[in-house]
Symmetry: C2
Subunit: 242 residues, 2 copies
């Protein structure tokens, strides 16, 4: 099994390091790592160190670095605008998209999103998406943490799509994502609608901004499944998973 | 939005049809379809009829067929052996894999599966997977219902892989699934291990049976995410999503 990953502000290049705080508590008291066992330290920005545990106390681990790596960011950068979804479907989408390598998630307040992120409740929902992304990134041992942007409305999202390599998942689209030309460098943006679908006026705004409507297969996918499936197709097509 | 799909034993080619029983209750009392609205009737074996509602009573809908279609089964047939997973992870895997079009799911009692399907509890778990697959197939408007096979151990699974186009997801594999040669006809079998991974002796058994170890990307995926991501790659690569 792959070693567990713990996030630190700066990864030591060599020598000893003391892991404490929330990550030390998690490693020592929850995962219960013991002297001689191995773990990964990462800064979430591409730097990772393999370490061996030299001593453990309650909430604190001492480790020794055995290998230090700076990994290049993968291309293309994959950004998903994920429509707000009800219940835990939004968090499930964030979790699974993080597992398959999304680089940035943009919460999108779509016309047909049943939930509205407003006031304190909206702030708490955004915080939960960010915690979910961080936890899923640790779970999948990602060298780069994905970011969860501030939520946007349709106009702001359309502005962001303009001039980019952008695709909108839409069940009536003629072009399959599997055969769409997708650049293997730069940034690729993907829009995933809410359970009720992308509204016609939203689709028009995105197409006007230059985005291409694409579909997956004939199945109707839940919003929490569409993003992860599309990211898998893109990761295979662009060479990120080669 | 796509019309809701209801499952019936035999789809009428034309004329009127009375939808009652559990599906009638769902259509009339839960989805609350009204006269003039449209729905789909399917037999789960490739036959689908577009219908318009002509009358509604409590638990019963009368519909008129407006279009009748027999769809061909898509190739290749995609079969996933899904390791039993704890909590609701198994059902989540069944749900998302059904959404992206899996044709058959084989529950696999892997060495490192934390749960054991034994006795009444095992029977209930299997029943839940079957209900989950049926509900997800309706949700995604699938013309063909996937089947959930009886659970198998490693020896029986290895026997089933022998002579087939079989792939085992394994994080240490050299071959990316994205570049592996996959046939576009016949049956493709994919093995998805439990949270603890495929055990070395299991990998040996599957390789001896002729299966190819493959990986997705560098990320470590949960068992409930690996199958849906791999199916998306396979659906794009084999042309099912063209």
């Amino acid at each position: 099994m792959t070693d567990a990953l713990f996030l630190v502000p700066a990864v030591p290049e060599s020598g000893r390091y003391r892991l404490d705080g929330a990550e030390g508590h998690h490693a020592a008291d929850v995962v219960r790592l013991r002297a001689g066992e191995t773990l990964l330290l990462g800064d979430g920005a591409g730097t990772v160190a393999d370490c061996v545990v030299t001593a453990v106390a309650r909430g604190v681990l001492d480790v020794e670095v055995t290998r230090y790596r700076r990994l290049p960011a993968r291309e293309p950068r994959l950004v998903v605008a994920q429509a707000l979804a009800k219940g835990d479907r939004g968090e499930l989408a964030v979790q699974t998209m993080t597992e398959v390598g999304v680089d940035e998630i943009v919460p999108w307040q779509a016309a047909r999103s049943v939930v509205r992120w407003q006031g304190d409740r909206g702030a708490r929902s955004l915080a939960r998406w960010r915690i979910t992304a961080r936890e899923a990134a640790k779970q999948s041992r990602r060298a780069f943490l994905p970011t969860v942007a501030d939520p946007v409305g349709t106009a702001a999202l359309a502005a962001r799509l303009a001039g980019a390599s952008a695709y909108v998942l839409h069940e009536d689209a003629d072009t399959p994502l599997a055969t769409a030309p997708v650049p293997s460098t730069g940034t690729v943006l993907l829009v995933v609608g809410p359970e009720g679908g992308v509204a016609p006026e939203e689709l028009t705004a995105f197409e006007t901004a230059g985005a291409t409507p694409v579909r997956l297969g004939p199945e109707v996918l839940r919003t929490s499944t569409a993003g992860v499936a599309a990211l898998a197709v893109l990761s295979a097509a662009t060479g990120r998973w080669h």
